[in-house]
């Protein structure tokens, strides 16, 4: 069997997770979609572009777990890989039970991850919808929660730590004027960053329709 989304036929879905039992459990949903699953037993290719190419040759889409580095399975995490897939127009859903620290790490890739699914919600319907939202985005059709808008961003604080994990705490009033969003500083171009401090205001494209903090992405910064 195959499903067709925007004239794109999906037959095989690659399952990427460093735990064999988890891969088996994901396969249950793929089977219920009447699709063929390709279990990536790993270890994955050392270089991300090689891995993206290899997986896309074996399958038409992928389900990817966030934690890929716990065992000696991969040298990159699932968010990096899902973003790599997106950039090559290969649909992928990222399965993760996010918590704050993980969102901090993932934020820089969120622009390229249209489909973020909590493990409890991963089922044939959500997989299909996730793949569809990727393919639609490749064609420029964004869901309301993903469409980027030019928005004012106010910097509340910039925190540099000894561990080198540096963050900006910002508010996007057009999204939620009461919620502070934490961004890794490497998301902001250095030439703009050098002029920023607490209280600075600037513009960026932000998906203002995002339901939660964990879905927000930022791009095309302007001072």
């Amino acid at each position: 069997m195959a499903i067709t989304i925007a004239e794109r036929s999906i037959k095989r879905i690659s399952i990427i997770d460093d735990d064999a039992r988890s891969r088996d459990s994901y396969e249950l949903s793929v089977e219920d979609l009447d699709l063929e699953s390709v279990s990536e037993n790993g270890p994955l290719d050392e270089a991300l572009p090689d891995c993206v190419r290899a997986v896309s040759e074996r399958a038409d889409a992928a389900i990817c777990d966030y934690h890929l580095k716990v065992k000696a399975y991969s040298s990159f995490n699932g968010a990096e890989l899902a973003a790599g897939f997106y950039k090559k127009q290969f649909p992928a859903v990222l399965c993760t039970k996010w918590h704050t620290a993980m969102i901090d790490e993932m934020r820089q890739y969120l622009r390229f991850i249209p489909s973020l699914i909590h493990p409890a919600k991963l089922d044939p319907t959500s997989i299909r919808m996730g793949i569809e939202s990727c393919i639609r985005e490749f064609e420029g059709q964004y869901l309301a929660v993903r469409r980027p808008w030019r928005a004012l961003v106010r910097v509340e604080d910039i925190l540099k730590t000894d561990q080198g994990s540096d963050f900006a705490y910002v508010v996007v009033p057009a999204w939620n004027s009461n919620e502070v969003v934490k961004l890794p500083l490497n998301l902001i171009p250095p030439e703009i960053l050098k002029n920023l401090s607490g209280g600075s205001r600037l513009h960026a494209k932000v998906n203002l329709g995002a339901a939660g903090n964990e879905e927000l992405f930022f791009e095309e910064w302007e001072l």
Binding site: D19, R21, S22, D24, S25, Y26, L28, S29, D32, H67, V70, K97, H99, T100, A101, P119, A120, L122, D123, P124, L159, T161, D162, G164, K182, K194, N195, S197
Partner: protein
């Protein structure tokens, strides 16, 4: 031939705009005059405030610099808005010019109704030039150029040296104490409050109405600093540092790689600079035997503290001004308080030799433009402070170890001394004394034993916490995920294959597994959420927001224990300045406490009520339950560490609550049996706002 040339001309109103409106502060105006004196190679710059606390008073400024010729006055001093162009030439005295645009000078001159200038140049050596600016003349003229300013010449008094005197009379408004305090601070910091510069420039403030403030200008307490950090970065960007104690003995020394550890030894891309930083312990015992008094040092630090930045020997504002913690000294201390100074107990000076002006000042004189060179300079200073903090921490740990080792020896010696003293007592009293000492020893031993166990308990719990966090990562990952996916598949396939039969045979157990997974998920979510680094930042904490989050996090857990939660939050968005972790810690421990009480008591129909009230500036969180209440322990003892009525309890939950509330300047209270029947704990915290 008709004259077809035209020029911009300025209305006299522009003088008010440029003077009073653009440079509104007294100190900035006078500091610009001081910079004129500095560029004229003056060694002394005196500001006299005469009856200046009232309108009509005067400000008299004088220096012993090289004075001005009529050309200097006409083409320099009276020209406003001129900036430095081309290469920078040192003054005849070898100073790098401070540079100015003349706008601050205008502001200073316009403080009064008349400004009179007398100046005596080097040549001609007999002459004194004078000029009077009467601002009333400008009020009655339409254009600036319509008012003639005449430069007069007269023979200077015999014995008078070169220099310039400016008298600003008929002050439009009285000068306030706050302004004099700021002026004093600016003057102290302008050139050389640290007594290190050879090319010295001494500002003097004479202000009879504000004598106490003027005195602070003369005194310094650097010799009393407990730690003196001296760091430097050379033209090649390589740094070195050392720390001396208050006797001048070197404590620590670092090479470039040690200072630049955080940047893996990469050189600093800033102009050559030296950084001197003096940290004071400000404890009564450290001041014993010293000449200065702790309260005097505090007042002095209050007046001049902060890390000040000097470019080519002249201070650049606002670095080190009150509230300007440009090196994030207080933030670093908040993140890791041990052995770190704050801006209240330290003073510092960064001197940058910047002949090519790599650091560029903003036009409004509010500091440097944040160029890469400036950022690198800041990083150098922050790295030097970090290095000092690391070294001090290592010493502190060693000191603690040493004290721990020496404690038994010292106790033995004290015991021997005591025994000697007892032996010297009259024979009949000796037995009694020995008995009393033995009783005391036994009691003390017990107390030490309790403390030792308590410390061990904290360590064990910390270890348990670290382990729980590690396991939380694991359990939030694979096992729960596999169960979730598998049970979802069973549910999906069961409904499809068995249709009606599914609901009758499988729905209940499958739903039970799904609910249990949710409950299990709380364990990992709650643990990971509690250790979130961001929650320990000191920020504005919205109390109701945090309470709602904690309740949401605990919901599946409470459902799993048949606890009916009632949440009654007062109206409003009360907030405090503190950490989210502190508020979470209070509420989490109180909820845990109630849940344990239910379990111990076997309470049926369990009710947990969390309510908040806002009265004046106090926020109260009350956590009540219908458990057994406070029994088997006195109410006042429930806060003590290790006091518990639960068989395997730690007795630390309420201690942590109390300690955390004290940290937030709050109070705790308890009701043994509230209206629900069980205990009710009250936490009162002062609000920052609502």
């Amino acid at each position: 031939m008709p004259d077809n040339k035209a020029h911009f001309r300025f209305s006299t109103d522009i003088l008010r705009r440029l003077g009073e409106e653009l440079n509104p502060s007294l100190e900035h105006g006078i500091v610009e005059l001081a910079k004129n004196s500095y560029d004229a190679d003056a060694t002394k710059f005196t500001v006299v405030l005469a009856n200046a606390d009232k309108p009509g008073g005067s400000v008299i400024i004088s220096d012993d610099g090289s004075g001005m010729t009529p050309t200097d006055i006409r083409d320099g001093w009276l020209v406003l808005g001129q900036s430095r162009k081309g290469s920078i030439k040192r003054t005849p005295g070898g100073r790098i010019p401070a540079g100015y645009k003349g706008l601050g000078r205008l502001a200073a001159l316009r403080l009064g109704s008349v400004a009179s200038v007398k100046t005596r140049p080097k040549t001609p050596s007999e002459a004194e030039y004078h000029i009077n600016i009467n601002w009333k003349d400008f009020d009655s003229a339409a254009l600036v150029e319509q008012v003639d300013l005449l430069i007069g010449e007269r023979k200077r008094k015999s014995g008078s040296t070169t220099g310039t005197d400016i008298a600003i009379t008929g002050l439009r408004a009285g000068v306030s104490r706050a302004e004099v305090r700021r002026l004093a601070r600016e003057l102290i910091l302008l050139a050389d409050p640290f007594g290190q510069t050879k090319n010295s420039f001494t500002p003097v403030l004479v202000a009879p109405e504000f004598d106490d403030i003027a005195k602070i200008v003369e005194i310094g307490y650097l010799v009393d600093a407990d730690f003196h950090l001296h760091a430097s970065v050379g033209p090649n960007g390589r740094a070195s540092a050392s720390v001396l104690d208050w006797k001048g003995k070197e404590l620590f020394k670092a090479n470039h790689n040690q200072v630049a550890e955080r940047r893996s030894g990469e050189p600093y891309g800033c102009p050559p600079a030296t950084f001197d930083f003096w940290a004071f312990l400000l404890k009564a015992e450290t001041f014993l035997g010293r000449n200065s008094k702790i309260q005097d040092v505090r007042a002095w630090l209050d007046a001049v503290g902060g890390v000040h930045l000097y470019q080519n020997e002249l201070r650049v504002s606002p670095y080190g001004n009150p509230g300007n913690d440009w090196l994030d000294i207080n933030l670093r201390r908040a993140q890791s308080p041990e052995e770190r100074p704050s801006t209240n107990n330290s003073i510092g000076k960064i001197s940058v030799l910047d002949e090519t002006f790599k650091l560029v000042q903003k036009t409004d004189r509010s500091g440097f433009i944040e160029t890469e060179a400036f950022k690198q300079l800041r990083e150098f200073a922050q790295d030097a402070l970090e290095w000092m903090a690391r070294e001090r921490l290592i010493v502190a740990i060693k000191r603690r170890e040493q004290e721990r080792k020496q404690a038994p020896e010292k106790a033995e010696k004290a015991k021997a001394d005591l025994e000697k003293a007892i032996s010297a007592a009259p024979k009949p009293a000796q037995a009694q004394l020995r008995k009393a000492v033995l009783a005391y020893d036994t009691q003390k031993e017990r107390e030490v034993d309790v403390l030792r166990k308590e410390v061990q308990l904290y360590r064990t719990l910390s270890t348990a916490g670290i382990t729980a966090a590690t396991f939380a990562h694991e359990s939030s990952g694979n096992p729960i995920k596999v169960i979730q996916q598998s049970i979802n598949a069973i549910q999906r396939r069961g409904k499809q294959q068995f249709e009606m039969q599914y609901d009758a045979s499988f729905a209940k157990p499958v739903d039970a597994i799904i609910r249990s997974i949710d409950t299990l998920g709380v364990l990992s979510t709650a643990t990971l959420s509690l250790i979130d680094q961001d929650k320990r930042r000191i920020i504005r904490v919205d109390l109701h927001h945090v309470i709602n989050n904690v309740v949401k996090m605990f919901e599946p857990f409470l459902n799993g224990r048949d606890v009916d939660l009632k949440l009654n939050l007062d109206i409003g968005s009360p907030f405090i300045r503190g950490s989210e972790a502190a508020v979470e810690s209070i509420l989490t421990n109180l909820i845990n406490n109630s849940v344990s009480a239910f379990e111990l008591d076997g309470t049926k129909n369990r009710t947990l009520r969390i309510s908040t009230t806002i009265e004046a500036d106090t926020f109260t969180i009350a956590v009540a339950d219908n458990g057994p209440g406070i029994t088997g322990i006195a109410k006042r003892n429930i806060w003590l560490p290790g006091q518990t009525t639960k068989p395997h309890g730690t007795g630390l939950g309420l201690t942590i609550v109390r300690d955390t509330v004290i940290d937030l300047s709050g109070t705790v209270d308890a009701d043994e049996h509230c209206d629900l029947g069980g205990a009710e704990i009250f936490v009162n915290i002062p609000l920052a706002g609502k």
